[in-house]
Symmetry: C2
């Protein structure tokens, strides 16, 4: 069976995956770009073309960041990661990601306002569904052609998949900042360490990389 | 001026410094002994005689744990760290710590039910005061003879001193467990990274040691 994976999901020391006040100009709300500061200089994030041009780093942070795409056949994301608005999507709104999104696979977008799929350049097609985590995962598996599924975020989506015990591999990055408010990743996950082997390593950039691997695999 | 320090204060990945349901038999509530599992084998904790006899470890965990007593002239602790009960203390109740507590300095206990000081063996005297963090720190400085002050916990006490910006050095340990409920350390501390240089290192025991050093020192 294909595996369900989370990569590069970053939280503050106090456990927030995004700040308060998310909007078009500030996708992470008052957190600004601080949560992903560690990632922007990496080869992997540079290659996405979202944060300027240049030669990316190839150190510890890149070693983790670079795993995100390998073997992935589809992503599942929350509505907030697709678009900062609420309610039905207008026909002309194509999300954050521009004409050539960095996913290059089918992407299942969880929303209470389904609409027809949106096919963009580079192999990314967004599928908008009102579905439980289990249902979304079934659809993603159909679309993924036997490859793995990435749960792309935000915090609520990752948390719901963890609570439903649907995730096999989880890479969390802890950034040394305190956001104080926003969306918490860790709520309602008491005892999760019983299901996962948890390892950690620090990076010279100041973040901590945590890997959670399902026990018994 | 003497410095205000926190050592060996341990939180779960989801930020709880103690579990729910603290009582005499379970000082950390449903967390049991899991938060301090990293500390028990160290020389420093072995020497306190609280967790059995034996030769303690002298590795990375001990390197951090061992800093707790050096240069300390007084501790400030919350009522919960002294005793698990609520309301006035009865005359025969002498706290968790036995006849020869491991502090060997004056200890200021924050409580809404002051009582006369309690002098025990080995140089530990408990002073029970109903005081703000600033007032408690003034008293502790008078008692400390020019040495540093340790803020001993629990989570609420450390958090209140951080919120009042009274702490110079903070050593926090993150244990790879998810408690789900209990007392949070990090609430209301947005932007604390502006005041501290934060460093981290992982230990083979599985915990992460974080040091917070006041900027500009």
């Amino acid at each position: 069976m294909s595996r369900v994976r989370v990569h590069n999901f970053t939280v503050s020391l106090d456990g927030f995956g995004t700040g308060e006040g998310q909007r078009l100009e500030e996708p992470f709300g008052h957190a600004g770009s601080r949560l992903l500061q560690w990632a922007f200089p990496t080869c992997t994030f540079m290659d996405m073309g979202l944060h300027g041009e240049g030669t990316g780093s190839t150190g510890i942070d890149e070693t983790f960041a670079g795993r995100w795409a390998t073997g992935i056949g589809a992503e599942i994301m929350g509505r907030n990661k697709f678009a900062p608005t609420r309610g039905p999507l207008t026909d002309d709104w194509r999300g954050w990601w521009g004409e050539n999104p960095p996913f290059h696979t089918p992407v299942v977008v969880l929303t209470h306002h389904p609409r027809p799929p949106l096919e963009l350049e580079g192999g990314t097609t967004f599928h908008f569904v009102d579905a439980t985590p289990v249902e979304a995962l079934e659809l993603a598996r159909e679309l993924a052609g036997g490859l793995d599924i990435r749960i792309g975020g935000g915090a609520t989506t990752v948390r719901e998949f963890l609570q439903a015990d649907l995730i096999d591999e989880l890479h969390i990055v802890v950034a040394p900042i305190l956001l104080g408010r926003g969306e918490r990743l860790w709520d309602g996950l008491e005892g999760m360490e019983d299901r996962f082997v948890i390892e950690s390593i620090t990076s010279p950039s100041g973040v901590i990389h945590l890997t959670f691997s399902r026990r018994g695999d």
